[in-house]
Symmetry: C2
Subunit: 308 residues, 2 copies
């Protein structure tokens, strides 16, 4: 049961109301791989890094069952670098620096050893890059998840719309769902997106949780109320990695199992935000994860007796 | 098992992106009584109205088991009148007109027939008025719920803080919880409020649902994703009425039963917003309510197997 993860592996400089780091490993594929590695092996990573990417991180990932055959190492350029500053509400952030570096030349090549993968997660990248990976796979994966963002809706909408016809699950946040459809109501936006190709839609709402739409069904997973969100960077990618990792592990892509996968993804994301970068994911134990999932159960379960 | 509801009975003029009404019955006690009447009788209403308040509404409420002995009718003034306009996101609104009218003289008198009530809901009113009702009750109710708003935090904070020591459940929205505590994090704000008096705190988050805090326990009830929120006026009061009505009906004020009561309140509120004013609550059937509560169950239930 293998999973291909496509995305960035990068460095970030992050400032939040709680602290500041000048350089920490990041990137959508990094977070997704750390999260998914709790559930499935191998994870077949497709990314590009520069001459500055620490071998220790690559080694750590490999020890967790992440194959790096598909990670191109460019010897004469640095890795993708992003710098941003979060505001108090943690839902808005200012991008201070975006140095594409190696990412400008990213033309992913799917290694022969990755062929036959049953699960594919396409991290937030240009629609062209995302499509080229789908096209290189001789056998269509059982489930394809695509993450994207407002930027691609603005400069590459046509390519994004084409991709939507090729995938199973779309992952966006609430404002992106509105932007993609022109609908303010999440229910209306979801209904429209489900006519564009994907059979499943996940709308991420940050501290307000996440929603899963499929046909006329809807599932709402709250976010765990946290005392502090220390650093939200990578939370969405961690969520996605936990989500698809759980699905791959259980070999069940039904709506019911996706509900559980969303809770698992939410639990992983709730750890991610506790420290800078993927630090907390690197320390995380299976036992802590199980305890946290129980917290999600306690958070939402109820029983109602209307017989009186 | 009687319930006293204290609050306004009024008229509203409402404009939303979906329509406009120049005059419709409203007021916190009106909404709360309609909602609570689905679960408990009698409801002992305490309010004040003017010479313009329709007898048909009073009669409709009485038929639903609402006692109106405590509703003062002022013969030479009109009822409290509020006019407001909602924006597209329905979470913000502009108040256009606030005519206090009879409300300026509201000095509630608890009728002798109301003594011994086991449940008390104090709708959003000045802390002085809320306190005077508590003081008139010879026997402390089993459960006292208090709703308030930012306005009272600004002009009558001292009185509000005194009241918090007299009640069991405080009901505020997220921005009010922040204002009351100076804490941005909901978890920190909740912890602080629980040291101010109330043993239970409900934080209303509109379309993002509601949270219940008690000691170290927390429960998150999502709002039902609706295609359109036609008119949110009264949703909070309807929620409160459904919440305390369910508790009074089941005679159980445990944390576990409050979780169910919050779902019931959320279900009632989800009907309230479908039409202008209390129109939808007036039409609502028991069967529709039961169906909607099942929708809440479906919305949040999941099962996770981490054994693999």
């Amino acid at each position: 049961m293998s999973l291909i993860v496509v995305g960035t592996m990068a460095y970030d400089a992050i400032e939040t109301p709680f602290g500041k780091t000048d350089r920490i490993v990041g990137g959508s594929a990094t977070y997704a791989a750390y999260a998914a590695s709790f559930f499935v092996k191998p994870i077949q990573q497709i990314s590009i890094v520069g001459n500055d990417f620490e071998e220790a991180i690559m080694e750590d990932l490999r020890e967790r069952g992440v194959m790096t055959d598909g990670v191109e190492v460019v010897s004469d350029k640095p890795s993708f670098f992003w710098s941003g500053k979060y505001h108090l509400d943690m839902n808005t952030r200012d991008t201070l620096i975006t140095d594409l570096n190696v990412l400008a030349d990213f033309k992913p090549v799917v290694p022969e050893s990755y062929q036959g993968a049953e699960f594919l997660m396409l991290g937030n990248l240009s629609p062209d890059i995302q499509k080229s990976v789908i096209e290189q796979l001789r056998e269509r994966p059982k489930l394809i998840i695509l993450d994207t963002m407002n930027f691609w809706m603005e400069i590459a909408l046509e390519g994004l719309l084409e991709n939507l016809k090729l995938i199973d699950v779309l992952l966006v946040n609430d404002s992106e769902a509105r932007q993609l459809t022109g609908e303010f109501s999440m229910v209306k936006a979801a209904r429209k997106i489900l006519t564009m190709g994907p059979k499943y839609l996940i709308i991420k709402k940050g501290e307000h949780g996440a929603m899963l739409f499929h046909g006329d069904h809807v599932f709402y997973a709250p976010a765990l109320p946290l005392e502090d969100v220390f650093d939200p960077t990578g939370a969405g990618d961690t969520f996605a990695g936990g989500f698809i990792g759980y699905l791959a592990n259980t070999k069940d892509i039904s709506f019911n199992n996706m509900k559980s996968a969303i809770i698992v993804g939410s639990a992983m994301a709730s750890f991610c935000v506790e420290k800078f970068g993927p630090t907390r994911l690197q320390e995380l134990t299976r036992e802590e994860l199980e305890e946290r999932i129980q917290e999600f159960v306690d958070l939402v379960q109820f029983e109602i007796d209307l017989s009186q």
